[in-house]
Amino acid sequence: MRTPNAIDFWRGVALVMIFINHVPGMVYSQLTLRDYAISDAAELFVFLAGCSLAFVAAGKAGPKPAGQVVGRLLWRAFEIWRAQIVVISVAVAMLGAGALYFNDPLLLEWHGAKPAFSDTARASIGLVLLTYQIGYFNILPLYVVLLLLALVFVVIARRSLAAALAASFALYAATLTWQLQLPSWPAQGAWFFNPLSWQLLVVLGFAVITLQQTHSTMWQAAVRRLWPVSVVVVAIGAVVVWIEYRPDPMAVPDPRFFFLFDKQFLSPVRILNMAALAIAFYPLFPILARAMAPLVRYCSSLGRNSLVVFCVASLLALAGQIARYVGEPGFLFDTGIVIVGLVALRVTAWIAELQPSSS
């Protein structure tokens, strides 16, 4: 078991925020990142995935063998694909059980679940191909494609990190310019998170940690210089969110996704805001580790076991949504959901760490 580190800690924080944000309407969402920043916990989670990727690609002794890295990424993509199949199946079963028990047709339509019940043959195929996703269960399919894309960028980065960054930027720019998307099926439309643009955040995370490993002194100096600017950018982002400013999609010039705050395509302002947050909060972890050790241990335990904790968090959030829907939600009710959720996530991490291959 790893000792608490910044990546695990912040990933745990992101998981807690994702759990709370996935129960819409709760007052506790006011404590999460999206109420104070243009980007939200999803960006943080994906950026940190990119940071972790650097440790998969290289150890203290330098780059790991290419075959080992490719094999590890392919296996991880398979694990996440497997997790998505299990989690979405359980989610559909929960909605079906809720509809039966409460005699309520709306539960069969929640978050795009209808095809699972009324077009089952196609939905089953789409589920395996990841083209059928339901609301709040669409991050893992993004992850699978991100890992497969990361394979290419990590291999390029073994020759030149700049070339990997350039390739990633080029794909990002092309995606936003021509609005390239992965299609949904059997439903019309596209993926809620577009992997072709979100890959840039992974590659940026990868590049940041790779540079920290290879150019430590310069890296520390750059972070120190950028810190005041980042704090200003974070503050501006908070004001923009507070005054509820959003660019009018009809008013911005083409290609419009460069100028919007769009989450599906991950518009540049969201990346900028995420980068500023990462730098602004970078010095915080050592302080928290000393001052609030139990909190750091808690979040780090979630972050160390991010996949299984994310899966359980998603299902607990759906259970929370159903509970709020059939119950009489209020402050105490929401507090109960949050407490049960946070305890269950810690228990999940504890069980996961009892396994020999926990990661």
Binding site: G25, L106, H111, K114, P115, F117, D119, P356
Partner: protein, 283 residues
């Protein structure tokens, strides 16, 4: 390690047993198979001077099918330009147009069929609303509208907000704001209010959202398909339809079937209103 595996297996077994017991208990009280849904074809002519179109027998209810007399100027303009009117159907997953070969008649495909039976050439695009309007869905709707540039938005609104227990006034504010934005960009709108669900008929949170859809539509002079009241009429006339049978809620299915007819009616009426308001050539 072994202790951990054992604890996990025990926990999983308990969950599986509980789920099995629950499903078995629920399955025992499932009612009998309902009659198949039938549908009489909508009229093949588009009678511009006429009033309400002929509804299928099962969709005729006491409540009015839709409210409002708002002119659909952009749809009329499309028809005058001899091009199909581009319509975006936006809402929950039942609004999703299934693959063309799918056996499931989705709301958009039925609406398209009903409109074409009325002599209107339309291009129907379906999109799912992800999340509550009072949350981020309104922004995503605007982005989708900027990309698709429709003449008409058919928006099933309020369900996700009701599910998330969003405050009805917050929902109304955001709806008002979004409708203002759509009007400013010459996109016609027909609102479809949430479904009637027997369990929620006395739920103030749910009915509060339904009431706000009606109030905002009236205030903004927007056509509103009166699905909630129509389904309530159907539920009173056919109490068994509210129960799950054969994996289907018949009331819900009929709600969509009839909402497609009512929406087609509302659109035709909106074109009539545009002709009346603007005068000149009829499409």
């Amino acid at each position: 390690m072994d202790r951990g595996i054992a604890a996990f297996v025990l926990l999983a077994s308990a969950c599986a047993l509980a789920l099995f017991a629950f499903v078995a208990r629920t399955a025992l009280r499932e009612p009998a198979e309902p009659a198949a849904i039938t549908h009489e074809a909508a009229p093949a002519s588009f009678a511009l001077a006429g009033g309400a179109q002929v509804l299928s027998a099962q969709c005729r209810v006491e409540s009015v099918p839709f409210e409002g007399r708002a002119p659909l100027r952009s749809v009329r303009r499309a028809l005058l330009e001899r091009r199909p009117a581009r319509i975006v159907a936006f809402g929950t997953s039942s609004m999703i147009a299934a693959d063309a070969s799918s056996p499931i008649a989705s709301y958009p495909s039925e609406l398209e069929r009903d409109l074409e039976a009325n002599g209107l050439q339309v291009e129907m695009i379906a999109r799912t609303q992800a999340g509550a309007v009072a949350d981020d869905a309104a922004e995503r709707l605007k982005t989708a509208m900027a990309a698709l540039r429709p003449d008409l938005l058919v928006w099933q609104v309020g369900t996700d907000d009701a599910i998330a227990r969003i405050d009805a006034d917050d929902f109304a504010d955001r709806l008002r704001d979004t409708l203002g934005w759509l009007a400013a960009h010459d996109i016609d709108v027909v609102l479809v209010d949430p479904q009637y669900v027997a369990r929620l008929s006395d739920d103030e949170g749910y009915t509060g959202i339904v009431d706000q859809v009606a109030a905002v539509a009236s205030e903004k002079r927007i056509l509103r398909v009166n699905r909630y009241e129509a389904m309530a009429d159907l539920a009173r006339a056919h109490p068994s339809w509210s129960r799950l049978a054969g994996d289907r809620f018949r009331l819900s299915d009929m709600g969509y079937r009839c909402a497609a007819e009512y929406t087609a009616d509302a659109i035709v009426a909106g074109i009539h209103a545009a002709v009346k308001a603007e005068g000149g050539e009829t499409p």
